[in-house]
């Protein structure tokens, strides 16, 4: 990064935790960080995200099991917040999906897992919710309308929740064609629309899940996260429950790129801002333990579009570390070198200003981190 870029730019991290939201800011050096918050203390903040069209427009998902869902909006970069609309009503008859015991269970709204503001209009924002559905607001979050073609897909009755619920957690809008959107649902799989959300189809060919006896099953895959580089939206990287996968055709087919990872189980996956073939994952020991292998917290980086993974350990705890990194808790900025960030269930937020080569804990004692988003501000 040039000295001038460092002086003129800033990074803002939007951190959602089990007990509130935090906003972390630094100049372009990314050496010293200010911490604001908690906002909405005591509430679970599943996600905070910013509009690409207006960096001061933020949306936060605030919820508890007691009092349900609140949507908070900021128009000043997180200094002040206003509650907006929180009515998420499934269109028509909600219907049923498969429950853990194989019986049918009514579709019930629980919370918003992920907000994805539209690229060009700060008032348009998508919300991925539990029980799985995609909602859209075109008035800055005041009102929400379900894009019900997804939930009404003919496979909907077969969708089954993962351990965290039947959640729609990934929303990727194709920057070249905003009518093409990829979403992922745990544990139904990935789906794509090419007509702005009216019709959807599963895009899970090539996924193999050991729990599914039918290797070609269209749905039932526990996709944890999908990432995309904006310059190459046809290439998708997926952290599945087990397996790191790649698609070169917009999800039409997938192949495994786990290769030499110590474990191919994990939650987040992220792509370098300037190198579309540089990918980051955080291997976790297994789906029954959810801790780093050998008590060592390691980010793995592939510079070859998957496979050939290298461990990144400098500055990360390499003994007695048993935190997890959740699916929405890793992000990159767009400075050069690319900054990489992740939060842990132990309350640390780690930052790397050099594309993962070295790491520093910005904060160490937040509540369990649920999500991290990075904004690059000029």
């Amino acid at each position: 990064m040039s000295g001038k870029e460092g002086e003129m730019s800033a990074v803002r991290l939007l951190v959602g935790t089990r007990k509130g939201a935090f906003v972390l800011t630094s100049d372009g050096s990314r050496a010293d960080w200010g911490v604001e918050g908690p906002f909405f203390t005591g509430w679970e903040i599943y996600h905070v995200n910013a509009s690409p069209a207006d960096p001061d427009r933020l949306y936060a998902s605030q919820s508890t099991s007691w009092f349900g869902q609140i949507v908070q909006r900021s128009d000043d970069g997180g200094r002040t917040w206003e509650p907006v609309g929180n009515e998420f009503t499934y269109e028509g008859v909600a219907g049923t999906h498969q429950w853990y015991d194989g019986t049918q269970h009514p579709w019930e709204f629980a919370r918003v897992w992920h907000f994805e503001p539209a690229p060009t209009d700060p008032d348009i924002v998508f919300a991925g919710v539990e029980d799985a559905a995609l909602f859209r607001s075109s008035d800055g979050g005041k009102t929400w309308e379900e894009l019900s073609g997804l939930r009404r897909h003919e496979t909907g009755e077969q969708w089954q929740p993962g351990a965290g619920g039947l959640c729609l957690h990934t929303i990727l809008i194709d920057p070249r064609d905003p009518a093409r959107i990829v979403v992922a649902i745990s544990a139904a799989g990935a789906f794509r629309t090419d007509d702005g959300g009216r019709t959807w189809r599963p895009i899970n060919r090539g996924l193999r899940s050991q729990e599914l006896p039918d290797e070609d099953r269209e749905v039932g895959h526990c996709v944890h996260r999908i990432a995309m580089h904006p310059s190459r939206p046809e290439v998708l990287f997926m952290q599945k429950h087990w397996d790191v996968m790649r698609s070169d055709d917009g999800g039409e087919s997938w192949h495994e790129v786990s290769d030499n990872l110590p474990s191919d189980f994990g939650f987040p996956i992220a792509v370098h801002a300037h190198e579309p073939d540089t990918v980051y994952v955080v291997p976790i020991k297994s789906d029954s333990e959810h801790v780093p292998p050998d008590g060592r917290l390691r980010v793995y980086r592939s510079r070859t579009g998957g496979n050939d993974w290298e461990p990144l350990t400098r500055g990360l705890p390499q003994s007695h570390c048993y935190v997890n990194v959740l699916r929405d808790a890793m992000a990159v900025d767009t400075l050069d070198p690319c900054g990489v960030y992740f939060g842990t269930t132990g309350g640390q937020v780690y930052a790397s200003p050099d594309a993962g080569d070295s790491w520093t804990a910005i904060v160490r004692d937040l509540p369990a981190v649920l999500s991290v988003e990075a904004q690059t501000l000029s």
């Binding site: 508890t64 007691w66 349900g68 929180n86 009515e87």
Partner: protein
């Protein structure tokens, strides 16, 4: 007047200190009190009762004069002490979780 005591999180959300005071009602019920509360503070819609069904949320309870009335019909008349403002209608978050 009718007094309503809200749990801390809902007071914060509604930006009120202490109890909420609503206009008096003839023969108030849980339903009419909550309707008036939500009309005054729209931000509370969906936090006490479900948007679509108006059913009480599972971890929310209602108390009147020291009695848990959560399972009573929502159209039952509330005690005179609530109607007169001598006692507050209490919305309580169930003690659970961490």
């Amino acid at each position: 007047m009718i007094r309503v005591a809200l749990p801390q999180h809902l007071r914060t959300l509604a930006r009120v200190d202490g109890e909420v005071v609503l206009d008096g009602q003839e023969a108030p019920t849980a339903r009419t009190v909550l309707d008036a509360l939500e009309a005054r503070y729209p931000v509370l819609r969906g936090t006490i009762r479900d948007h679509a069904t108006a059913e009480r949320r599972a971890f929310v309870r209602f108390f009147a004069c020291g009695r848990d009335i959560s399972l009573d019909p929502v159209d039952d008349p509330l005690p005179d002490e609530i109607a007169s403002g001598a006692e507050p209608f209490r919305v309580v978050g169930a003690m659970a979780g961490g």
